[in-house]
Symmetry: C2
Subunit: 272 residues, 2 copies
């Protein structure tokens, strides 16, 4: 039997999930069933959540654990009537901040992951449109609008990283795939030259590249280890010769790649 | 002068930012300068962080506030030597969980937003590839592989929602734009019929649609209020006639839209 974990929120549940998973990741080999209960905005929803939690408690794999980002203390009180350990995010931290800022907090729901800051939100959506319009070598004539242009061989992680930079940070990221022709020429294509200071290279271990490409096109020349080795070596040699900063994406998640790019370029997050 | 806020992490800083912003959003009209210090993995980086924090403290807009997701208690001790209020997420909550699980936590760094669970991570990247390959009516012959197919008029929020569902939850989401031809016909295109149970409609207030379309193509027929009104009315009438569930995206963020789709469809998050 697995322990039941609940993420309870008055909004999307994303902050509750983030907090809960960060904490649970500290316990090795912990197995659990997880349920997100979003949009708990009143007593009715809170009591319905308690019933679900108590049903899980009766099913009997240890008492459930509830990660709550409910802002309203009355609703958290209702959650505490359940047979669960309630980890109450706001009450733990809001009080010290109220003292520090010398004022009360709003206890307003849905303020995060909502549409509170329209300009910042629109910036993220604009950045996302930009990433998709400038994916895979598209729209090079608009590179002067890019915060960063990722360069690398096919399937080195450029597209997911661009989309993540847009969605999470509101950063306008384009990407340009180094083609066989570019790689054989041994230098950056002329049209990238005016944007040199915006370029950022992604590289990858050839064995990992072969694995990723094989899932798309098994047994192709494109996915062969020889081809992957040659492309990666050529790309890295171009990065070095042309003074383009680059990082190896092989052992990193897109969150880690994106954070390293921000750290290395000094680009500022536009949105949160 | 604005208060200085720091997000300090041994990994990407994304969890620290998420939790810190959730707390700060409870204080209305609070102005602050924010700095993320990621990859604080040892004493050297922790001491460098303290220097940056103390420099901000000396600049003098009230003492800085540090949101820390450092797992290592020794590094948090170093942070506490700074002239800042340190909000330490792990120490507040890990101990009660250790008692509950009756075992120690690993105090291991980089376990979240890293590549700990390769299968779950690869699922997110696969879902992202799927979203991009099946954007804007692409790849309809593979809709049987979709968890959900978003349907709506142009610029109703389909693409960002699909990408978010993939990145955040590992959900395979395709999207199909209702064309003028579809709208005039007054029913779903035949090729969507076999996938009816996967369809989910997005609608939007015509005035908001006009605004979004005008940013892309000012003064076009496409962006005219009349055109937007007619398309939205036709789309909603198709959703109702064909029994397609739908939600209004106008006042919602993509996080909220995605959460509502999960709640309404009962789809399970595949990744976290």
């Amino acid at each position: 039997m697995k322990r039941s974990i609940f993420f309870v929120s008055d909004s999307t549940g994303i902050t509750a999930e983030t907090l809960g998973h960060a904490l649970l990741s500290q316990f090795e080999a912990l197995e659990y069933d997880q349920t997100t209960i979003p949009f708990v905005v009143g007593e009715t929803e809170a009591r319905a959540a308690v019933r679900r939690i108590d049903d899980a408690a009766e099913a009997g794999a240890g008492r459930p654990i509830v990660f709550s980002t409910l802002v309203n203390p009355d609703l958290n009180e209702i959650l505490r009537e359940s047979d669960a350990l309630v980890v109450d995010f706001f009450s733990a931290f809001v009080r010290p901040l109220e003292i520090e800022f010398n004022r009360g907090s709003s206890h307003a729901t849905g303020r995060f992951h909502g549409l509170v800051d329209r300009a910042s939100y629109d910036g993220r959506i604009d950045a996302m449109d930009y990433a998709l319009d400038h994916d895979d070598g598209g729209g090079i004539r608009h590179y002067h609008d890019a915060d960063v242009v990722l360069v690398g061989v096919s399937r080195s992680g450029k597209t997911p990283t661009c989309v993540y930079l847009a969605l999470q940070f509101g950063i306008r990221a384009a990407n340009y795939p180094l083609t066989e022709e570019d790689l054989d020429a041994g230098n950056l294509p002329d049209m990238l030259a005016p944007h040199r200071e915006r370029l950022f290279g992604l590289t990858i271990v050839p064995e990992r590249l072969r694995q990723i490409r094989s899932e798309r096109r098994p047994n192709s020349r494109y996915a062969s280890l020889n081809r992957c080795r040659k492309e990666v070596a050529d790309a890295e040699s171009i990065f070095r010769r042309e003074g383009v900063r680059f990082i190896d994406t092989s052992g990193s998640s897109i969150e880690e790649i994106a954070s390293k790019i921000l750290q290395s370029t000094g680009l500022t997050r536009r949105a949160f």
